[in-house]
């Protein structure tokens, strides 16, 4: 990959990761808009998440007097780790210099790092809700991670690489192939994404109902720019999972060169695909009700089963010694 | 083809007619008539096979083409089972007429269920005869499954919680078993498609047998395991035997007689037919006797386990159903052992066991009516209350336990000799198994026959002719096997093992 380590390459890589941060609130805005429309409301403007972030950033950050330095550091760590994780997932083009680290295991590891600090921060102040949210988050994480690993391994086994960039390359060169394993891996990954990003039916991002909240419970003590960073990180995570799903399973349109045309096409394609995915998510959230927390393991077991079946059907049906 | 059609269509049409016939008394006689006519057909068929060696034909050949129709093949192996089935069908229907009238009389069932009983009885006969005569493995499967379907309603005929439970178990276990057998059949068909050009002939046993050497061994090995487990469930092989004692003890007694005497034979017949295919396919591989070894293993385990279970029974019909498992295990073992002597012995044993066991169940039915219960502890002093029943039970048990002048002794002796020759160590297991079973039977039988009858125990109206006929036949077979029968069995032995015994 030596020839890749050139200035324009790095430029595009930096641009792409900035784009992640920049586009993430827009995705949430679009999601809320579609949901509002489905519920016969007009809903806030698409840019509302940006305004919220701006407002929070401008405010003073208050910190509980029982908080340790970890509490202050956590938002920065969570945000950076999530951002780094996002940088590994090809958004517009493949074969960027960052492709060298665009490894599935790195991705999972960075997300785990973010989760650990989120949970630690939730427990730090010592309020009941923070601890509860942290324990719930870890429960979900413990179940979701194996499912996610299994699902991405299915992809890796097909492409003979754990590098996301090569996985996407492999798909593009194979053309349209119906793979039963992908169907299952997609199903598993979607379920994991729903659980990990705290969407219905696992968690409800819009309420602060103490009995049910997971993600919000950990952020209760945060305010100002800390809260802004935490919210932003969550938005980036949603975009990350969305991009992972659309670009790995439906890679068509992603740029394979660095020409402005390819970049433009890649951007248009990914925005289009994400818009459709978010709309589907909104429909799902409108139709489904949040389930009780102790049903969440069953939900994630289904994800695990799907991923496992993906692996099995890859071995049995697609390789078949 | 005419005798074959007579054999098959009589019970089928009879079943339809009996389903419509409202008068129970007439139905009993009609049922007997149907059985007699199909026995006539079976004897005619037997004569035809004796003359020409094999009768085969295809139904609907004009409609579907010569290989796609419903093929039949009757050779020495199955014709004697056909005659046996039809014969036991007749004697059991002689017994069933007064027996079921008695059951109707005491109000255990109503006229509607009586109609179900008669109709299903003939349908059951039809499915067994179809399974025996068809040349198509798929049709054989359909027929054996059909036999299950025809008998489940009979097992639950009395509608007691026990009867429903027994029927449900029977249905589920045999349904599962038979589904596995279908998987084996599919695999066989799959193997056949690689060697037989005409796909429609891929399930025809005769064609498969002719091409057995070319069937892919890996597929056939797997197929046979499924087929053995599947049909073995119906044979009553341990550990798939759970349904058998329940179904026998809770169903009406004529049903137990035909289940034990005939259905188990039919299932074993299917296993042996399939073993012939697998042996042909595996002949050139490293494990040519795999099928035989599997049969020996299952057979021996069933034989020994059932012998031990005989001791623990408290229900008389359950006890004899375990005895059936034991004998089916013995036959399975013998067929697995292979060789002309063991095969001849097993074929003879199928015959004498059927005759003896159905006679015993008929007697047991009368005994249960005398005592008013099936519990061994409460059946006492039969020989004083009704000597005919007592003596029949005693003689029947003596015969089934393998006492010398009877046919069972003869066949068991042949089996032991064969075992001694080819696998001497198994003789020890067989002899001790026989001794255990013998002890188990007699410790229960003795008080039932000789004990002090309870006060007021009355004889019942009993027709002992079927029992007498069966037991005398068994006695005759023990003293001298008639020439034509020996010839038949020898030809069947030759078909299965490729060598003559006589």
């Amino acid at each position: 990959m030596g020839d890749l380590l050139t200035a324009p390459g790095w430029g595009i890589a930096v641009f792409q990761s900035l784009l992640y941060v920049a586009l993430a609130p827009l995705l949430v805005g679009w999601l809320r808009k579609v949901k509002a429309r489905l519920q016969n409301r007009r809903g806030p403007s698409l840019l509302q998440p940006y305004r919220d972030l701006y407002k929070l950033l401008a405010k003073e950050a208050r910190v509980a007097h029982t908080a340790s330095p970890l509490f202050r550091a956590a938002p920065y760590i969570v945000f950076t780790a999530t951002w780094m994780a996002a940088a590994t997932v090809p958004l517009l083009v493949v074969d960027l210099p960052t492709a060298a680290i665009a490894d599935i295991i790195v991705l999972v590891g960075l997300l785990a790092l973010a989760r650990v600090f989120l949970a630690l921060a939730g427990m730090d102040v010592g309020t009941a809700f923070g601890g509860m949210g942290a324990s719930r988050e870890m429960l979900i994480g413990a179940l979701a991670e194996p499912a996610m690993l299994m699902a991405v391994f299915t992809l890796a086994m097909t492409a003979h690489s754990t590098n996301l960039s090569s996985v996407i390359d492999h798909h593009l060169s194979d053309g349209f192939v119906l793979r039963p394993s992908y169907l299952f891996a997609l199903g598993g990954l979607v379920l994991v994404a729903i659980a990990e990003t705290g969407r219905i039916p696992v968690d409800n991002p819009t309420t602060h109902l103490e009995l049910t909240m997971v993600h919000e419970a950990m952020l209760l003590e945060y305010s100002g720019r800390h809260l802004a960073l935490m919210e932003w990180a969550a938005q980036v995570k949603l975009l990350l999972y969305g991009t992972l799903i659309v670009n790995v399973f439906f890679p068509w349109g992603i740029g394979q060169g660095w020409s402005p045309a390819a970049l433009g096409l890649g951007l248009a394609a990914v925005v289009g695909k994400l818009a459709v995915l978010a709309a589907a998510l909104a429909v799902g959230e409108t139709v489904l009700a949040k389930m009780r927390l102790f049903r969440a393991p069953a939900f994630l077991n289904l994800a695990l089963l799907l991923s496992l079946l993906g692996l099995l059907s890859h071995v049995i049906l697609e390789v078949g010694a | 083809m005419t005798p074959l059609m007579l054999v098959l269509l009589t019970p089928l049409l009879g079943a339809l007619a009996l389903g419509l016939l409202r008068r129970p008394v007439v139905a009993g006689w009609f049922n007997l008539g149907v059985s007699v006519v199909s026995l006539g057909g079976a004897l005619w068929l037997g004569a035809a096979v004796a003359v020409s060696g094999e009768v085969s034909g295809t139904l609907g050949a004009q409609l579907f083409g010569p290989s796609a129709g419903l093929g039949f093949r009757v050779d020495a192996f199955n014709v004697y089972l056909v005659v046996l089935t039809a014969f036991v069908g007749v004697t059991t229907s002689i017994f069933s007429r007064p027996y079921m009238r008695y059951v109707l009389g005491i109000g255990r069932i109503g006229p509607r269920r009586m109609r179900t009983y008669h109709s299903m009885y003939q349908l059951f006969m039809f499915t067994m005869l179809l399974a025996l005569t068809t040349d198509n493995l798929g049709v054989m499967w359909v027929a054996v499954e059909g036999a299950t379907l025809a008998t489940v309603l009979l097992v639950s005929l009395y509608r007691t919680p026990e009867a429903v439970e027994a029927a449900w178990k029977y249905f589920i276990l045999c349904g599962v078993g038979i589904a596995l057998a279908l998987f084996g059949t599919v695999l066989t068909y799959f193997a056949a498609q690689q060697v037989i050009a005409d796909p429609a002939a891929g399930l025809t046993w005769s064609t498969l047998y002719a091409n057995a050497g070319g069937l892919e061994p890996a597929v056939m090995r797997l197929a046979f395991v499924f087929l053995l487990v599947g049909y073995g469930t119906k044979v009553g092989l341990v550990p798939m035997h759970q349904w058998l004692p329940d179904a026998h003890s809770e169903g009406p007694t004529p049903m137990s007689a035909v289940l034990s005497g005939l259905l188990l034979n039919v299932a074993l017949y299917a296993v042996v037919r399939l073993k012939m295919l697998v042996d042909g396919s595996l002949a050139e591989t490293a494990s040519p006797h795999l099928a035989g070894q599997l049969l020996m293993g299952f057979g021996l385990v069933s034989f020994l386990v059932a012998g031990l279970f005989l001791h623990r029974q408290r229900d008389i019909k359950r006890m004899f159903s375990y005895s059936s498992i034991e004998h089916m295990g013995l036959m399975t073992f013998a067929f697995g052992l292979g060789g002309p002597l063991a095969t001849f012995g097993a074929l003879l044993h199928m015959l004498v066991h059927s005759l003896t066991k159905s006679a015993i169940f008929i007697t047991v039915g009368h005994a249960a009516h005398i005592a008013g219960t099936q519990s061994i502890d409460q059946i006492r002093g039969l020989i004083r209350t009704q000597p005919a029943v007592g003596w029949s039970l005693l003689i029947g048990v003596a015969a089934i336990a393998g006492f010398p002048p009877f046919g069972v002794f003869m066949s068991e002796f042949l089996l032991l000799t064969a075992t001694m020759k080819s696998a001497p160590w198994f003789t020890v297991a067989l002899l001790s198994g026989l001794a255990v079973a013998f002890a188990g039977l007699f410790r229960h039988i003795h008080p039932m026959v000789y004990g002090v009858p309870p006060e007021g125990q009355q004889p019942v109206e009993a027709n002992m002719i079927p029992v007498a006929v069966h037991l005398s036949l068994v006695l005759w077979l023990g003293l001298a096997i008639p020439g034509f029968l020996a010839g038949w069995l020898d030809r069947a032995t030759w078909l299965i093992t490729g060598a003559h015994l006589l």
Binding site: F184 | G138, E165, L222
Partner: protein, 228 residues
């Protein structure tokens, strides 16, 4: 075997077979009877779709007929009969509590691996495609079996039985281009009769033990002294 070299219809076949397998898992773990019946109906419809695809790829015309037969029987008639029975028995809202469902699911996964291991010795290069589908069908059969062992509700057991039959149909169709017509009709007839009899038995069970929980069928035991 290289998936990318297979024609699209065969890839579709693989996908359909895989979904049939997935539905077996759904059936295994589904506690609501109505949903389980729906899952079963979908499974039947998919088997019918597999049959139709095989008919289209191999130009086997009699398979169109058997696809229609499967669709009518497995996806429409039997689910409808089960629905009716459930309404009759007032079990619409019935949910069954399963013991250690996760363990059973893992058992089913083990069965999938086991069936693959079982068919592995069938080594004919040109047969791998078929062999793999046989492995899937065998898994469906064995998971049906597992379901019958593990579920104690009579209707769920029947669903397990019927999904075993689905696996068998799948094997017959994909491995051998369908059985001869006589056999196929016979099997379909048997399945239908079995379903009718199961219906009769549901009513008999309810009359005799007041429930369809077959765990309550425990009167017949060895040495249990039935008649005392």
């Amino acid at each position: 075997m290289n998936l990318t070299l297979l024609p699209l219809l065969q890839q579709l076949l693989l996908v359909l077979a895989a979904i049939v397998l997935f539905l077996s898992f759904v059936l295994l773990a589904q506690v609501r009877l109505i949903s389980a019946i729906h899952a079963f109906a979908w499974q039947g419809a998919l088997v019918a779709a597999v049959t139709a695809v095989v008919a289209a790829t191999g130009q086997v015309h009699h398979l169109y007929f058997s696809a229609a037969l499967t669709l009518a029987l497995k996806a429409l008639l039997i689910p409808w009969m089960l629905h009716r029975l459930i309404r009759q028995l007032e079990l619409e809202r019935h949910t069954e509590s399963l013991q250690s469902p996760a363990l059973v699911t893992m058992g089913a996964v083990a069965l999938v691996i086991f069936s693959y291991w079982l068919v592995l010795p069938m080594i004919h290069a040109e047969m791998t495609f078929t062999r793999n589908i046989i492995a899937i069908s065998l898994s469906v059969v064995l998971i049906g079996l597992l379901m019958m062992v593990f579920r104690t509700q009579a209707v769920a057991q029947v669903l397990g039985f019927m999904s075993m039959e689905n696996g068998l149909f799948l094997a017959a169709v994909s491995a051998t281009d369908g059985m001869p017509l006589v056999v196929e009709l016979g099997v379909a007839f048997d399945v239908l009769v079995a379903m009718v009899l199961f219906g009769v038995f549901f009513l008999q069970l309810r009359d005799s033990i007041d429930s369809l929980d077959v765990d309550r069928l425990n009167r017949l035991r060895e040495t249990g002294g039935d008649s005392q």
